[in-house]
Symmetry: C2
Subunit: 303 residues, 2 copies
């Protein structure tokens, strides 16, 4: 059994704020990500490679809040976070507060594979990526007209905003995958929250918070009120409920979402087990999401 789940963020997505053409564009992008990641699995390659492929497509698409299209800090800059985790051995890697790496998820994988560390951040991580020959871009590449507009709107209201709120259409992205060897992997990438403090580290750069994978329990990727996902260590909490509390995948993921809600947060999560059980849930109005499995499962949905 092979299977891939992806998300493109959760929030107050309202049908009335999006034209049919817009929705089609989103679905096309999700479909491309899903196809690319699933093909990777079909070719017998690893879950690790599949989640990277799927996330990279969404980082390159300006519709989503990661890579190109990332939302803006209060000072107008883009600062991006990404992480990856493998279920076989709990290997993980992440970057945080990077401003110039075209595909943060690729550098997160580099941190996991080739450094003695787990998380590298700030301009120092950008400098290392440049030195290593990663594709780099100026801030102009990442910033879109839409993200500038949303920053202006957020400042007017004095709010720090979730990717999707008020029809904002830029979203954290993530993927979880199961490969033919029974290995799980998860990856998440984000530009964070519109109007966030410069220097704010998100759950998407913390293995255990917004990203998690362990073959014994689940692969997990989250989107939403990231500060609360950090406080709750949501990914690791879902894992722990399954490992120590014998909760099912869906019980664990539902519980994690409820705990976020009880602290005033919102969002969505993907969960996948090594036997191919899957969970896609959210407590916001909508979540851009997709699923494809060798069991014939196929889905691309928003509401």
């Amino acid at each position: 059994m092979i299977k891939l789940l992806i998300h493109g963020g959760a929030g107050a997505i309202r049908r009335e704020n999006h034209s049919e053409e817009e929705m089609d564009e989103y679905k096309k992008a999700l479909s491309l990500s899903l196809e690319q990641g699933f093909r990777t699995l079909s070719e017998g390659r690893s879950a690790e490679e599949a989640v990277v492929e799927a996330v990279k497509v969404l980082e390159d698409c300006p519709l989503f809040n990661s890579g190109k299209g990332s939302v803006l800090c209060s000072d107008g800059r883009v600062q991006m976070d990404a992480s990856i985790m493998c279920g076989q051995n709990s290997d993980c890697g992440a970057v945080t507060l990077v401003e110039q790496i075209k595909n943060p998820i690729l550098m997160a994988r580099y941190v996991m594979r080739h450094t003695p560390h787990r998380i590298l951040g700030s301009k120092d991580a950008d400098a290392l990526a440049r030195e290593l020959g990663f594709e780099m871009e100026s801030q102009d590449y990442f910033v879109t007209e839409k993200s500038k507009f949303h920053l202006i709107e957020a400042k007017k209201k004095g709010l720090i905003q979730l990717d999707h709120d008020e029809g904002d259409s830029s979203q954290t992205v993530g993927a979880v995958a199961l490969d033919q060897n029974g290995n799980l992997a998860a990856a998440t990438s984000t530009g964070g929250l519109t109007n966030k403090f410069p220097g704010r580290v998100s759950d998407s750069s913390i293995p255990g918070a917004g990203t998690f994978a362990n073959n014994k329990t689940l692969a997990f990727s989250a989107t939403g009120t990231g500060d609360i996902f950090i406080q709750n260590m949501s990914g690791f909490d879902a894992h722990s409920q399954m490992l120590y509390g014998k909760a099912s995948l869906s019980e664990a993921c539902q519980s994690v979402l409820e705990k976020v809600k009880s602290k005033g947060g919102r969002g969505g999560v993907l969960g996948l087990t090594s036997s191919g059980q899957s969970f896609m849930g959210f407590n916001s109005l909508g979540m851009f999401r997709g699923m494809k499995g060798s069991d014939g499962s196929f889905q691309i949905e928003v509401f």
Copy 2:
């Protein structure tokens, strides 16, 4: 019952590498931290205030690897991490990769109390601290002759070193406390590892990894191979074993240390429950540590 536990790092501390005078200096510093923190509790103030007071003393002491005396990145810079968590409501705050804040733990508390975020990092966190009027210092203040010497030695050997190894006497610091209202808190502060990559984020800046507190289970502060404490999400794992797996404090903390060891890491942890049970353990040669409680417990030890 009120109680305070502190640590000043774990590693390959060897008696033969330290004169008696040196050991006395360490113990004097630990004693000062313990007294300051315990007095805070005795005056009826909160566990949150006590761990900040205790950690601040150690940040100001050049013997330990936090604040003044922090170890150096491979490029010779000091980059510091700190975090705090409160057991009553899981509130937490942290800073990472700061280079100019005299007491990183004070800024971590600010993040917790006064921002919508949980972790702020990089020069952006320094800039905010400066704007807010926090006491700032140049790199010269933080860098000691000893840390320069250890960087040279580490580079010769091509190693990224744990605070204590090879007689290095600069160590991550931390504290856990129980106050008269039955509330727990934990705080940790570090300069990381000698010869680490610039931009490396440590477990000491991640609530759930190197620092954790929840009144239902434990307050936790770790020191050691931080990258593995991140991968294992050790603080949250100890919590989860107690909450979902009904493990005792000591079972949970021992298990966490064993998991770190099984991945090739070393270190030490402090654990404290709201009923005043305590744990101080390490799988390295030694850990600078101290404990004081209203139950008459008192201890300052290295080996």
